[in-house]
Subunit: 458 residues, 2 copies
């Protein structure tokens, strides 16, 4: 059968969804990564689980690769369209199916945005805790598929911790229900967690039951503390994380990033400080803030400021837009490693030392309390220079693993970071990943080559 | 090869572990369930991961079934020896490998008891939160394999939430390392969670990296509230769980259980109350306790008591020993269903109605805040009566699932509750479980027939 005949068959099969071809597909091919999208055979804009089921049954029948996508806010190329593959967009499945404030959960379709869910939860004095930087447009489905992080992870956990049940369409079109609405459940395997963060390689999520938490109450104080060197800042983080009361948020930006932000949108950041910590304290009083000041000054902070508004956090949130505006999006290589908090000084020292040695600009922002750094490594468009930048990203990942951490804390492997898999996993771990993948997607049609690096059958 | 030749080969293969046969095996065959143990072909008492690896390679080579066991405190028959199978005991692997208070994790061998780990954590003002009733003797490995619950789950999550990395020996003897020491990690699938709660059907855990949390500080107040009917008590629970400040612990015991406890060891429980709630408040003040009293009285509590010692919680912890002492261990059938907290009144009303209709004694204790009930259903030794008691357990599980919950909240399926799998899972979910099992244990030697009901090859 020709591809156009196949696509015609798919169009016939879809119960309610839209099928896009040719130029109409373009809004559904790229994501927020620097990767280059391929040309899909078609795009299904799903409206119902039945659409996704029909599309996957068709793809499975004809051995056609499938890329599922939410809002396209991922930065590791997980949602990039692939040549000849079917893209399935979940962005139009935007129903909030149920919300149960008394039991603190909501049932949503995957296209609901993170901020919309959090806003709805807020009307019941609850919140949806995961807050990736792209929360205004990021979809729940995409953030579950990637196990997205965010600033509030420090005190509320990652996306995985907020998911209690899923509806997933399997590679062959069958519909699987995982998990329960109860807080506890030990029947069978934790299939919910298996799909969270699997980046579309095991199935396509079409409904999620997510946990809501009480919106934190009490006095909110943001603070910033500037340090003459990154190691001191990282040591202060390590000590904060040993305390009984961890802040709601604890972020770090380095000098390069602070200057990019100030150039982009003046925010009162100290351009001369090697590192600035920005945090949020909730429920404390004046003495809580003073204790934080004392701790920061004890570790060498050269300035400390507190505020009762969000302008300090807003400055932190400008880091990614500022990087993009400064052309870092063209050639930059992103590192997303994470280590235990006490090892953050070593990881940051390594990044500083290597960037100095290579005379290469590296801009670091970090979810410091979680030990999760984002290092944007500059590179020119020269192939060799780009290759050396990638080498540095690999060395940072290797260092993070040696320190007990991971090659990616929240951005995922996607299609752009599969070179890190050999750093993250030994042969046994790779084999187990491949065995699980083969068990659930024997034809290898789902996101081939991505996340765990298993190529498809075509 | 005869079995004795096979066992001789195994003895040769073990690097350091002990091999027990015949009468010496008896301490390693039963668990805390009412199930009947089979006669294993041998028992390996492992000392190192290499022992477990050698034993599994041997078992895999010769297609011999394997049952792994910790301390034998499970109540669903997961650790019962099986006829002709090899039992591997992890109880002698008791090293605390590392403890990192600054990053709040510990690395332990599986035979370390839950209380021992919590005691060690306590010396750093931290705690290991999961606290199954059997914590004094339960092993970390066993509680991870079963994803054990406990009283503190309400505020700190279940065992799965406390596990960040595992060393697991696979069915063929290969050694897999999952997870990281960092707080965040999205590289690959969440294999750690896949093994947690898999009840020995996917691999044998030989080392675990577990999270520790700050030991809660502040004023500790226990309270009890007695109610004239279970529905009122359950409604009070539902309202408490809607509040911003959930108690550290919130338990429920019914009249039958209260009287069994008072007969076993007088504890000051109200013998006439249909239901008594027992809770722990941490960090509040007198007004916190008064708010709780008001809430309970608003929902019809006929008495309320507060104390600054643990005698109320100790009374709750006597429930299982009291049941055992009263002969309930002989014929009782245990139900362990869980529902969302707001559905607890319906589930308890169903249990009351059905037990009254059958004129059958049912003793209920519940991790009420988690919506997790333990109903001990009495039965005589008569086969038909026992069968009717099992039918009631199934109907309770079915009701829990209809209310959005699960057939087992913390005890697991083990070898004794596989009849509940058809209530918990539809055909697609069963198939996915079986596919994952086949991917990791293609010969089906690990805990055949248990947890997910897949029979082995022999």
């Amino acid at each position: 059968m020709t591809m156009s005949a196949l696509v015609a068959e798919l169009r016939e099969t879809l119960p309610t969804g839209h099928l896009l071809v040719d130029g109409d597909m373009s809004p559904f091919t790229t994501d927020s990564s620097p990767g280059v999208a391929g040309t899909p055979c078609a795009v299904v804009v799903a409206i119902t689980t039945a659409d996704v089921s029909a599309a996957l049954a068709w793809a499975s029948r004809h051995d056609i690769a499938v890329v599922a996508r939410g809002a396209g806010t991922g930065v590791s190329g997980g949602a990039l369209a692939a040549d000849g593959a079917l893209t399935i967009s979940l962005a139009r499945m935007t129903d909030v199916v149920e919300i149960h404030p008394e039991d603190r959960f909501a049932v949503v379709q995957p296209g609901v945005t993170v901020d919309e869910l959090d806003r709805l939860a807020g009307s019941h004095e609850l919140m949806y805790a995961p807050d990736p930087a792209s929360s205004a447009t990021a979809s729940i489905g995409g953030t579950i598929a990637t196990n997205a992080g965010g600033l509030r992870c420090l005190s509320h956990g990652v996306t995985a911790d907020a998911v209690s049940a899923l509806t997933v369409v399997l590679a062959d079109g069958r519909v699987l229900h995982t998990g329960t609405r109860s807080r506890k459940n030990v029947a069978g395997y934790d299939l919910t967690r298996l799909f969270v963060g699997s980046e579309g390689t095991l199935g396509v999520i079409t409904e999620a039951t997510v946990r809501l938490v009480p919106r934190p109450r009490g006095n909110q104080v943001t603070f910033s503390a500037s340090f003459p060197d990154l190691t001191s800042a990282a040591r202060a983080v390590s000590e904060v994380m040993r305390g009984a009361q961890t802040p709601e948020i604890l972020e770090l930006i380095d000098r390069t990033t602070a200057n990019l932000i100030e150039d982009f949108s003046p925010s009162g950041l100290n351009r001369d400080a090697a590192g600035t910590l920005i945090g949020l304290l909730i429920g404390g009083d004046a003495s809580t803030t003073e204790l934080m000041r004392d701790l920061m000054e004890h570790h060498g902070a050269i300035s400390f400021a507190a505020a009762d508004d969000d302008h300090l956090l807003d400055a932190r949130k400008k880091a990614f837009p500022a990087l993009e505006a400064n052309g870092m999006g063209v050639g930059w290589v992103a590192s997303d490693s994470a280590v235990p908090p006490s090892r953050l000084p070593e990881l940051l020292a390594f990044v500083e030392q290597e960037s100095a040695r290579e005379k290469r600009t590296v801009a670091v922002v970090a979810h410091a309390g979680d030990g999760n750094i984002h290092a944007a490594i500059s590179a020119s468009s020269d192939v060799d220079d780009m290759s050396r930048a990638h080498d540095l990203a690999q060395r940072i990942a290797q260092k993070a693993v040696e320190l007990g951490g991971t090659v990616t804390g929240e951005h995922g492997i996607g299609s752009l970071k599969t070179d890190l898999l050999d750093i993250a996993f030994d042969e046994v771990a790779r084999n187990v990943h491949h065995a699980v993948k083969a068990a659930l997607d024997p034809k290898g049609i789902l996101a081939p080559g991505r996340a765990i690096g298993v190529a498809g059958t075509r």
